[in-house]
């Protein structure tokens, strides 16, 4: 059947049709849809795990039990799952196991643009890299056989442009999911020193065998067109190269970036006068080619920064730019921002107004950093707000404890905020942690998590009681506020900062984009009463703008949250 699919849907279809039994993932752009699409199949077990480490370990357990298993995560998620990954390389698998990892060159929705291929090299695990949805389907599907043949987990590398681009996929009959027998094998699966030391040579031998496989596999292909220019490339870079050169250059397309072939590269290099490597981010292929003593042009011509396009490649080869027209007026940027009625806004307004130092985290609420709220001081990685605040206060003492907080979302708190909070209690700083509980994993597009009371399929599930959890972790002062109530937020923040013990404020109100949230009628400004003081403008609400000197509320955007009304000293908003 031929169908237009985004790459992530194709990965899901490939995994399913390849006989997947269990998938466990944590959402993260641009990987989220892999698991969302998998959750629509009723013949597999799918779940959202609290974080990527848990997800990878669930996939390991399922593989151990004999099922074909998978997990999916964004590039930084693999940092979290790196611990199981490196030793999974030693244990190998029972049922085939695929770890999908999606890189985000140009950082469309990420905090860095690290290159996941380093993990394949470092963990000595084979990696496949599709260039379009059709390959995403076939590579994901065949990855299980590769995994079982070589007794190794397989990394499937996606990037934003492949994950979120639709192209035509032809699927074929699904393999039935078969569970292999589980046989106790301590020497293979118990990685204590005496056993692990015997597994390391197995890993090295496997890598050698995979190198041989790389010379003759379906994943690496050669298109000989010219003896002048030869280009080694992979993933979406291949698409841009084809767009620019068509049939006028020879191409070695690498679909398996680890381990890389040697013979194919030597033969290809010998047949062309000038050899290039075109790859986004780090020079992984280029370094390999150079290690073979082959002269090649790579990162001196193609940047390690951001995404490529047909334009960047054409420009690097000195081709003339296509003529284009621009407007003369400066075009103001349109950065992303918190939505109208976003429950995070009220709390950020209070923090910003009181000039409180805010250690931030990863989620929609990272947007508290942008003007006019400018409320954040740091954002590092999932969970770093809570542990970072503890360190900030360990260094600063009562000086910083009285004017700094951490903000973290409900899902991120489940992911890796809890351990930081244990540390706050155990190692005793008077830190104030604000959990921005909007009852959903927001930024990645509304996934359920352990605090929402629903599982991936939307069925009722065990619900973590955040208040009870925080108390159990050793925090005695736990209180809940409604972020639409500015006075209550301000009182809570001031009181908890003042007390000489750690505390948690749960700022609770569901995301305004959730379907079951009842919206209020839009508010409007009485222009006669408005004195143009611009206090309401300090909220950075996209519904409020200034027209002819007076505040004006866009009634197509406003959801009547009423936060601006509380700021108006002249009763002009109603």
């Amino acid at each position: 059947m031929k169908k237009l699919m985004i790459g992530n849907q194709a990965v899901a279809a490939g995994l399913h049709d390849g006989g997947l039994g269990v998938v466990s993932s944590y959402p993260g752009t641009p990987s989220t849809e892999i698991t969302e699409f998998l959750s629509k199949y009723d013949d597999i077990h799918s779940e959202w795990a609290p974080n990527e480490k848990v997800a990878a370990e669930v996939a390991f357990g399922a593989s151990l039990a004999g099922a074909r298993s998978a997990c999916a995560m964004k590039h930084v998620g693999l940092n979290v799952a790196a611990d199981p990954l490196f030793t999974l390389s030693y244990t190998g698998v029972n049922g085939g196991m695929v770890i999908c990892v999606a890189d985000d060159p140009a950082m469309h929705s990420s905090q860095n643009e690290q290159d996941s291929r380093h993990y394949a090299v470092a963990a000595k695990v084979p990696m496949l890299e599709p260039a379009d949805s059709a390959e995403a389907y076939s590579f994901a599907r065949s990855a299980f056989a590769l995994s079982e043949q070589f007794d190794t987990p397989v990394l499937l590398r996606m990037c934003t442009r492949i994950a979120h681009s639709q192209s035509i996929v032809e699927t074929w009959d699904a393999e039935p999911a078969v569970r292999k027998e589980y046989v106790k094998n301590p020497a293979k699966y118990i990685m204590m020193p005496g056993n692990a030391i015997k597994r390391h040579p197995v890993v090295e031998a496997r890598t050698e065998a995979l190198r041989d496989f790389a010379e003759n596999c379906e994943y690496n292909t050669v298109e000989m067109n010219s003896d002048e220019i030869g280009i080694i490339t992979s993933g979406c870079s291949y698409l841009y190269v084809k767009e620019v050169f068509g049939e006028s250059a020879s191409i070695l397309k690498i679909g398996m970036p680890y381990p890389l072939p040697v013979k194919i590269i030597r033969e290809f290099a010998a047949k062309v006068k000038k050899l290039y490597v075109i790859e986004e981010l780090d020079p992984i292929i280029e370094t390999h080619v150079r290690s073979l003593g082959i002269d090649v042009i790579g990162k001196e011509m193609f940047s390690p920064l951001g995404e490529f396009s047909q334009q960047t490649i054409a420009a690097a080869f000195g081709m003339e730019a296509k003529p284009s027209v621009s407007a003369e007026s400066p075009i103001p940027p349109r950065p992303p921002m918190m939505c109208s009625g976003c429950p995070h806004r009220g709390m950020f307004y209070v923090l910003s107004k009181n000039k409180i130092t805010v250690l931030g985290d990863i989620g929609c609420y990272t947007l508290g950093a942008v003007a006019p709220l400018n409320a954040l001081d740091s954002t590092l990685c999932m969970g770093a707000s809570v542990s970072g605040l503890h360190g900030f206060n360990a260094a600063g003492g009562s000086d910083t404890e009285k004017r700094s907080v951490a903000v973290i979302g409900d899902s991120t708190f489940m992911h890796s905020g809890m351990t930081g909070l244990v540390n706050v209690a155990y190692n005793a700083t008077n830190s104030t942690v604000i959990i921005l509980d909007n009852s959903i994993t927001g930024m990645t597009g509304h996934q359920q998590n352990p605090t929402t009371g629903y599982n991936i399929k939307g069925d009722p599930a065990a619900k973590v009681d955040l208040e009870a959890l925080c108390r159990a972790l050793g925090i005695n002062r736990v209180r809940v506020v409604d972020p639409y109530d500015l006075a209550a937020c301000e009182t809570a923040v001031k009181e908890e900062l003042a007390v000489a013990e750690p505390s948690v404020i749960i700022s609770r109100r569901p995301c305004v984009l959730l379907k079951n949230v009842k919206l209020n009628p839009p508010l409007s400004v009485d222009a006669d009463k408005c004195r143009s003081c611009k206090r309401c403008m300090k909220l950075g609400c996209p519904s409020i703008s200034l027209k002819d000197g007076k505040a004006k509320i866009d009634n197509t955007l406003c959801v009547g949250c009423g936060v601006c009304k509380q700021l108006c000293a002249f009763d002009a908003i109603g």
Partner: protein, 190 residues
Amino acid sequence: MKTKSVMIVGVGGQGSLLASKLLGRLLTDEGYDVKVSEVHGMSQRGGSVVTYVRYGDKVYSPIVTEGEADVIISFEKLEAARYARYLKQGGKIVVNTQQIDPMPVIIGAAEYPDGVLTELTDKGVSVQALDALSLANEAGSPKTVNIVLMGCASKEFDIPYDRWIKAIENTVAPKFVEMNKKAFDLGYHA
């Protein structure tokens, strides 16, 4: 056929994903090779969003670069201007005249360039501007802005009216089909 490039641009939340879904499906049914590149995640939150649609006998790159777009369909005035440099010579911009102020304008750090479409037409760019929001309201819901714009832009494709209508029937939830067909027709005749 040589690859043709379309860009659908607008503000996160305006419904450009449905427009690209409709167009992608229709072009696939017409027998073309098709690639559609979407935006997910943070940039969707009220930011400037762009979707690329490319079709032809064989499409490689999923993205459109400067001077390449045959058609730009813009859900908002400023966004049309932002991406105008992607238009190829002889290409066409179909733009909704709606103005949505970006945050730098809201807080007074920048100005919304009012005459920006005239600037483009003065430079010889073919621009068709329409009040798609009013037409969408006339069709029954402001949410049909995307289909109004597709109706207007449909004339830039070599695909007959009936096939667009059929694609709407196949893409939109049954209870919204009539409203969207009306929206398409209003855009088509705008």
